[in-house]
Amino acid sequence: MTPLTDTPFTVAGRAFSSRLLVGTGKYKDFTETGAAIAQSGAEIVTFAVRRTNLGQDADAPNLLDVVSPQRYTLLPNTAGCYNAKDAVRTCRLARELLDGHNLVKLEVLGDDHTLYPNVVETLKAAETLLADGFDVMVYTSDDPIVARELEAMGCCAIMPLGSLIGSGHGIQNPHNVRLIVEQSSVPVLVDAGIGTASDAAMAMELGCDGVLLNTAIAHARDPLRMANAMKLAVEAGRDAFLAGRMPRRQSADPSSPFAGRING
């Protein structure tokens, strides 16, 4: 039997075998964070940048002790930024934090009720970051025209939302995600809105190159079990996409032959 093969997931010249990217927020503690991420099989892990709590125990554990830059490709994000300037400053701080590492997840949010991407500020920030040598994976709306602009500017991955960040509403407009996949030469990942394994599988069946999620694992009743489910769902969805699904039919089509029936 010929072994099944796939091309690696490649972004900004780096190749990965896992197509699941995960966040590090909302876990009970760092132990659970580390265990869930290990179980998910993810190789790219995103984190946020925040002010250090001064005057507290300087020996307190650090996220990067659990999610080590030696083991994972770290993807600093600009979560919490509502304008281009803050997002650019955050990326530059992250690059300093990670000793020159230049792969970032850009997200510029519109308001704190929807956390919907502000595409005007996102475009501005992307332009500055690209000119400054960053590899920009960009969180955006599922608007194919905006996606095309971001790719033309030089972003290395387009990451449309499936639905609102943290909502778990899955992929609300699969047709738009499909349009973005069809037109893009850089990887497309659904980022935001994944609630359960079938949502992740759907993203991959639509032809996405990967899925980025956080809350679906962290807020599952059993995060480790859900991390495993997401790993399998991304693999299953990818295989289903590569296999090519059967055509849909309006009427039934028996799987057993008519010929040779005992009542024939």
């Binding site: 995960v22 966040g23 590090t24 927020g25 909302k26 876990y27 964070t33 995103t46 984190f47 946020a48 940048v49 925040r50 002010r51 250090t52 001064l54 005057g55 300087a58 650090n62 996220l63 990067l64 770290l74 600093p76 994000n77 979560a79 919490g80 400053r89 530059r92 701080l93 992250a94 690059r95 300093e96 934090l97 960040i165 943290g166 980025l212 999620l213 956080n214 809350t215």
Partner: protein
């Protein structure tokens, strides 16, 4: 040059602080107990690379940010 008795006022992570004059950014990081920790420092919206913390002198009115990695998606 400031005398050792002089002090400067600056904003550190959004809060006002009074420090002795003549300190470097590296001195401040040491006072905060953060030497060797994985942090990044920005002064007046410009990154100060680790290699330059010792040569960077703090001035009255500086806006300083000290950040680290936290969980997020």
């Amino acid at each position: 040059m400031p005398t050792p008795n002089e002090s400067i006022q600056l904003t550190l992570n959004g809060e006002s602080h009074t420090l002795a004059a003549g300190l470097s950014a590296a001195d401040l990081i040491e006072q905060l107990g953060l030497t060797g920790r994985r942090i990044a420092v920005e002064i007046n919206e410009q990154i100060v690379p680790k290699s330059q913390l010792a040569q960077t002198h703090l001035a009255n009115g500086d806006q300083i940010e000290v950040v680290h990695a936290i969980g997020g998606g």
